[in-house]
Amino acid sequence: MSQNANIADQTANWADERLGAAGALRKTANKVFPTHWSFMLGEIALYSFLILVLTGTYLTLFFDASMAEVRYNGSYTPLRGIEMSRAYSSTLNISFDVRGGLVIRQIHHWAALLFVAAIVVHLLRTFFTGAFRKPRELNWLLGVGLLVMGLLEGFAGYSLPDDLLSGTGLRIASAIMLSIPVVGTWVYFLVFGTEFPGTEIVGRLYIAHVLLVPGIIFALIALHLALVVKNKHTQFPGRGRTERNVVGVRMIPFFATKGGGLFMVVFAMLALLGGVAQINPIWLYGPYNPAQVSAGSQPDWYIGWLDGSTRLWPSWEIHAFNHTISPLFWPTIVMPGVIFTLLALYPFIEAKLTRDKAHHHLLQRPRDVPVRTGLGAMSIAFYLVLLMSGGNDLIAAEFDISLNAMTWIGRIGLLVAPPIAYWVTYRICLGLQRHDREVLEHGVETGIVKRLPHGEYIEVHQPLGPVDEHGHGTLEYAGTGVPKRLNQVSGLGRAIRGFFSPIEEPAAIEQEQERERELAGRPKDPQS
């Protein structure tokens, strides 16, 4: 033991004499991070990125980003003798001829889906709790940048195998480039080098996918995390939490333990998916052929909403002065451009409209900001209609609905669903606010119904705190959860933890509550 300590001391000394980092290390270890499950969503995105780098590096050892034609002669017999690009045949090799290649390829694909999904959910958390407010607008911008980069990276990645599905996606991407007014054809030739598909695009997408975009993502993540460290994390309001402190656990060992465990669990889930849940079975699609397509050609989920908007947009083409603006331009370039611009600028727009220049480190409950929450619900509704429309052919086939009816449902739904979502959410927020105030004023419903001498029945309410001369509670709403059920305010103490068997001693709970009382500066028995 003492020998180990000696070696540790010597190593630390060796490092510190060269780095002088002892102070910084201690300060980092002592950094306090608030504990709430929703603060780990961004971590999931970060871990997915690490897993993507690990599995992606493995895949580069076998993938050949070349569009040179070869005749396939690998293990997968149904495609033997067929001409295809080296990109496609090397992806087949990863799937069939590399020991364990398929499981890594599938983990990589699942991790890409989770990466974007975790970013989106993390963004929603940040949005609905107001975590983007001053001084964190810059980090919001970095986050929006990461989302956009994640979409590009994903698209570039699933376009690499040069199978029928990804080739179809690239063809549509080429048409989207063509639709840009004035410079469209020049952009198209700049990207593809020649008329579609040419022989350049897979190689160009490859270098973008493995170097350029991941490099940008890495830099953005580094800045994103640096700003979290600099600004310190936000926290939900609660006992002892103010705008001027952070309450939680220290980085080392507590947060590191939690994060390390979560990383392993996220990786485990992706490994399980990569093993048992088939994804992107490119050998079933066949090599890309511009004259072929299969029904139900859908992009990965995060591009699906753009496919949906493309399907719903009416056939409006502008012809003027011998020039054409394609109907493709509006739903695929203008719409996402406007949406991502509004998304990026949202913190500034909200601050401007609410004239809010203060620093905010305490989060808001969504119900307390009904307009913002309504706007968020409206955006989600808009997005969901588009996403559903991206698969409207599958829905039509599965549920025996007319395909054209699905298109019209999407077109009308896109205009009708968001306002309804806004209104319903707004009303729900107000209802929840009123209920909080009601409980603060009248107390918690006890379930005890009493008959008064004159015959009236009333339910007895348990006030949450001191009451005024009318029997109304005097507690102010503090932006935090209000207990709604009696067992949430019971003086009997909470239940012992443990699912199958108790994991704590009853005495520990008493101690804990004693400590809590001391912390809150309350007398030993609040009832008296």
């Binding site: 002592n30 063809r171 198209y188 465990g261 397509v293 620093h359 400590r515």
Partner: protein
């Protein structure tokens, strides 16, 4: 990292550490140097308690699961008969190889993850610590001195005074910017008229993907065949794919202006490339004469010269003028008379 509150005195000295335990040293340093205060520590399972021992066994079981799963992973990775051989009885081994690897890997990772989480939850003390924020702005002294340092540096360089230096530097900087961008000009290609033409030309035979030329007697009424120009590279061209359709008896074509007589007998030929986003329009419904693009559901009516009747496409599929040559094979009478595929700016 150095957002230490300067107003706070740093009164912990090395001498103070002498009499302290590690725990006391950490607390003193956290509170006095880092402004981090541990409010409460609650130990869920003291080391010598029954609960503590049970929790430790749970964590150890998780770590053991990881070890066993890694061993299983290695054995499967090395020894499993994983080669793909359809029809063979070893196909089952191939079919279960990837799931087996994935499950072993997942169990290994999950064991480690769950072990660490349980370790944190059941064995490590639960603490509540508080750290103070010191505002986002730097303090006034830093702000003013930094601004002064920067202004002084600017003056020291002489830039504000020396107009010629400033202007020539601006010119050089702009030029360097151009130098960084201009080599990318190698990527620029003039599209010229490429999008207006396809490999189709007068006399090019209509051949199938396997190169077999088409004759009028080859197709049943109501049939559709994808054909390519019988020229070198014709089947590889992304803009040449054409649908040769034999109408059903009684199907009347209402020709678009200028396209009368583009067909041959009851045969018509349209570009297969959707005028919306360039997917091959592939789904032909004989009964209604409608062609559906599976990408965005644009629908074209063959009897109206492939005019779009539903969905986002705006223009009819271009029609290829065809005839039959002296040997009885279908040939094109010319290239398409308009640009095929999606719209673009230069398209009239």
């Amino acid at each position: 990292m150095s957002d230490r509150d300067p107003s706070r005195s740093r009164d912990l000295t090395v001498d103070d550490l002498e009499e302290m335990s590690d725990s006391e040293r950490f607390r003193a340093a956290a509170a006095q140097l880092d402004d981090v205060h541990v409010l409460s520590v609650h130990n869920p399972a003291p080391p010598d308690s029954k609960l503590g021992r049970r929790a430790e066994r749970k964590v150890a079981a998780c770590f053991l699961l990881t070890f066993v799963s890694v061993v299983a992973f290695i054995v499967i990775f090395v020894a499993w008969p994983w080669e793909f051989s359809p029809g063979d009885h070893s196909f089952f081994a191939y079919w279960t190889y990837t799931p087996a690897l994935g499950i072993c890997m997942a169990l290994a990772l999950f064991g480690l993850g769950a072990g660490i989480v349980l370790w944190g939850k059941l064995l490590m003390p639960h603490e509540e610590a508080v750290e103070y924020r010191h505002g986002n702005r730097s303090d006034e002294l830093d702000r003013q001195t930094t601004a002064a340092t920067m202004r002084d540096a600017l003056v020291t360089t002489g830039l504000p005074r020396r107009k010629l230096l400033r202007r020539s530097l601006g010119l050089a900087g702009g030029a360097m910017g151009l130098l960084a961008v201009v080599p990318l000009g190698g990527l620029i290609k003039n599209p010229k008229r490429a999008l207006f033409t396809t490999p189709w030309k007068e006399g090019a035979r209509l051949v199938r993907y396997d190169g077999v030329p088409m004759r009028p007697q080859d197709m049943e009424p109501g049939a559709l065949e994808t054909v390519f120009p019988g020229v070198p590279g014709g089947t590889k061209s992304a803009d040449a794919a054409t649908m040769l359709i034999r109408l059903r008896p009684g199907q009347q074509i209402a020709s678009r202006k200028g396209q009368e007589g583009f067909g041959w007998g009851d045969y018509v030929a349209f570009s297969k490339i959707c005028t919306h986003a360039g997917c091959p329009v592939s789904l032909y419904e004989q009964q209604t004469g409608r062609i559906l693009c599976p990408c965005h559901q644009s629908q074209f009516d063959v009897t109206l010269d492939a005019k779009p009747v539903f969905g986002p496409a705006t223009r009819p599929l271009p029609m290829l003028p065809i005839t039959v040559d002296s040997e009885g094979f279908f040939v094109a009478r010319s290239d398409y008379r308009e640009a095929i595929g999606p719209s673009f700016w230069e398209r009239p």
